[in-house]
Structures are given as C-alpha cells and as structure tokens.
C-alpha cells in the first residue's frame, strides 16, 4: 500500500516544466469540457425549432438547475446570469474532476520511478483537486475576480470604503455625535479585519477543497488495500457525495463573495449587525 503523498508527483518534464499527475487529470477534464462544449454548440446551431432533445435537453436542465440555486443567493436572475460563466465553470470543472478521481485506475495505474533512492510506483493520474496548487489557483482567481468585479460594479472609492473606512469616519465626524464617532472608529478597525478576511477567504476556499479531495483519495487507497471487494463500495458512494457537495460549496461561496463584492453597502447608520466574515443576505 502506498499512501498518496501530500504533493503531486511529476511524471515527466517538458523543458523545465514538470508535468504532474494532477496536471494530467486536469488536462483530461479540460479536454472533456472542450469536446462537450463543441458538441453542445454544434447541437444548438443545428437545432431547428426551439425545443432541445436528448443530450442538449440534459445540458439545459443542468444550467437551469444551477441558475435556480444561484437565484437563492443573488436574489435576481440577471445577476445570476451575469455570474454564471464564472460560477458554472468552476462548479462543473470541480464536479467532473472530483468524480474522475474515483474512476478505477486513478491512483493505481502508474509507472515505476526512482524516487529518493527507492523505486516507487508513481500514479499516472491523481484527482486534479488533490493538488494544492490547483485549488489555490482557483481560489486566488475567485477572490481577485470578486475585487475587480466589485470595483467595476460600485466604483473604486466606494469599494475601497468597505475596507479602509475613511469616508464613513469623515461622515461620522460631520454629525458631531460622540456615539456615532465611536462606532465609526470601531468600524474603521473592523475594516482592517475585513482585509485579513480576504486573505483568509483564499486559504479556506483552497484548503477546504484540497483537504476533502485528498482525504477522500487517501481513504479510498487505505480501504481498497484492506479489503478489495464490496467493502469500498459505500466509501466510493460517500466520495460521490463529497465530490458534488464540495463542488457546490466552492461554487456557492464564489457566488456569495461575488454578490457581496458587487453589492453596495448600506449607509453606516443602518449597518449595526456586521460580522467579520461578510455573510450574504438570503
């Protein structure tokens, strides 16, 4: 039994660029998406009346389902459609790569390589999200995109006022009410905590996905090496569930961050219950 190591292993090198086993898996997922996207595009342009059939119908129902879930967070179909490209892509990419991780052969088919002086079996495939680089890249993209979209939606100075609340402080001083000024000072420092929470968002998004998928891979390896037949089946079913839940959590958190970033804050008088993590309004 070889328990998968924490970092993805490189299979071969293209120049200086190490191709890891996770990278192979994510490339396969991207290729699947290219093919499916091409087929769907061709199907929709060929379609005569406005009624999709077969596979197109399935794809359309998936998009509809996703949109109906997104509406519960954004409270508006136009905003859901605006964020669908980011959130939907992430959701389906994570879902497909998670589910690919429990296919037979992933983590078990490999090549023998000399690794730290010993000959070891290096798996050819490893779930794409069992590599921290992958999830970190997605989390960084999400948080950066939320900032850029926030600036684009409500303007730079209003957006900056969410973190460095000099504007609110100035408005509070103009009222000359000591309680308001005190509240504004406290909120000024809460703004700095918000900056830290932006970094924490990246950490928690990436580590949650990585931890769940990597732990699932280790669990399946251990159970599969204990008893090969029938006993791993419930664990595989569990991994199916974990795969879809983690994809949903990542996508919904992405959507929540995007929604919070692009929503204008209320004036400071109304905003008395605010916690550190910006929870979206449901």
């Amino acid at each position: 039994m070889i328990i998968p190591p924490l970092a993805a292993e490189s299979i071969f090198h293209l120049g200086n660029f190490a191709i890891t086993n996770s990278y192979i898996n994510s490339t396969i997922v991207v290729l699947i998406f290219l093919v499916v996207g091409f087929l769907v595009k061709r199907g929709f342009s060929k379609q005569k009346d406005n009624a999709p059939r077969g596979f197109l119908n399935f794809v359309e129902s998936l998009v509809e389902l996703l949109l109906s879930y997104m509406d519960k967070v954004t409270h508006g179909r136009d905003k859901s459609i605006k964020f669908l490209p980011i959130v939907g892509t992430l959701f389906f990419f994570i879902l497909v790569s998670n589910w690919m991780g429990i296919l037979p052969g992933i983590g078990s088919i490999g090549i023998w390589q000399v690794h730290q002086g010993e000959v070891e079996l290096i798996p050819m495939f490893r779930p794409a999200n069992a590599d921290l680089n992958m999830t970190l890249a997605m989390a960084l993209f999400v948080v950066t995109a939320s900032h850029f979209l926030g600036i684009a939606a409500i303007g730079f100075f209003k957006y900056a006022n969410k973190f460095i609340k000099l504007g609110d402080l100035w408005h509070a001083f103009k009222t000359l009410n000591p309680i308001t000024i005190l509240t504004a000072f406290i909120e000024f420092f809460v703004g700095f905590i918000e900056i830290i929470s932006e970094v924490a968002k990246v950490l928690s998004l990436s580590l949650r996905l990585f931890g769940n998928i990597f732990a699932g891979e280790v669990l399946l390896t251990v159970i599969g090496s204990l008893i090969a037949f029938f006993v791993p089946l419930p664990f595989i079913a569990l991994e199916l569930l974990v795969g879809v839940v983690q994809a949903l959590v990542f996508a919904m958190l992405t959507l929540a961050y995007l929604t919070v970033a692009t929503t204008e804050m209320h004036s400071h008088a109304k905003r008395d219950t605010e916690d550190i993590e910006p929870t979206p309004a449901f």
């Binding site: 879930y69 519960k72 924490a200 580590l207 949650r208 919904m252 929540a256 993590e277 979206p280």
Partner: protein, 72 residues
C-alpha cells in the same frame, strides 16, 4: 517538559479545540436545518443552499486551525 513536547502538545490542542468547536457549530446548523425541514417539509429546497453556506463558513474555522497546526 522540553520545548519539543510543548510544540507537539500545542499542535494537538490547536487542532483538537479548533476542530471540536466548528464541529459543534456544523452539528447545530445541521440539527436546526433538519428541525426546520421536519416542521415545514416544503422548505427543504430553500434551506439547502443557506445551510451549506453556513456549514462552509463554520468549517473555515477548522481549516484555519489546521493551517495554524501545520505552521506551529
């Protein structure tokens, strides 16, 4: 107790407390969601996404504890 033992103990306490409290929070969220579904079964669809988001935010604390444990 020497420094190394203390570090190991600190790591253990960090992940134990940092794991137990979010677990309690997630359990409470799940319990309340189940209770609400029991009271009003039609609300199950509406509850699912907010429940999941609440659980994710509670789980984030456990992840911070894990990061702290690794950096200790």
């Amino acid at each position: 107790m020497d420094a190394e033992t203390m570090t190991t103990l600190a790591k253990a306490i960090a992940i134990a407390v940092g794991g137990a409290m979010p677990a309690l929070g997630i359990g409470l969220i799940g319990a309340k969601a189940m209770e609400s579904i029991g009271r009003n079964p039609e609300a199950a669809d509406k509850l699912f996404v907010p429940m999941l988001l609440g659980m994710a935010f509670a789980e984030a604390i456990a992840i911070y504890a894990l990061v702290v444990t690794f950096t200790l």
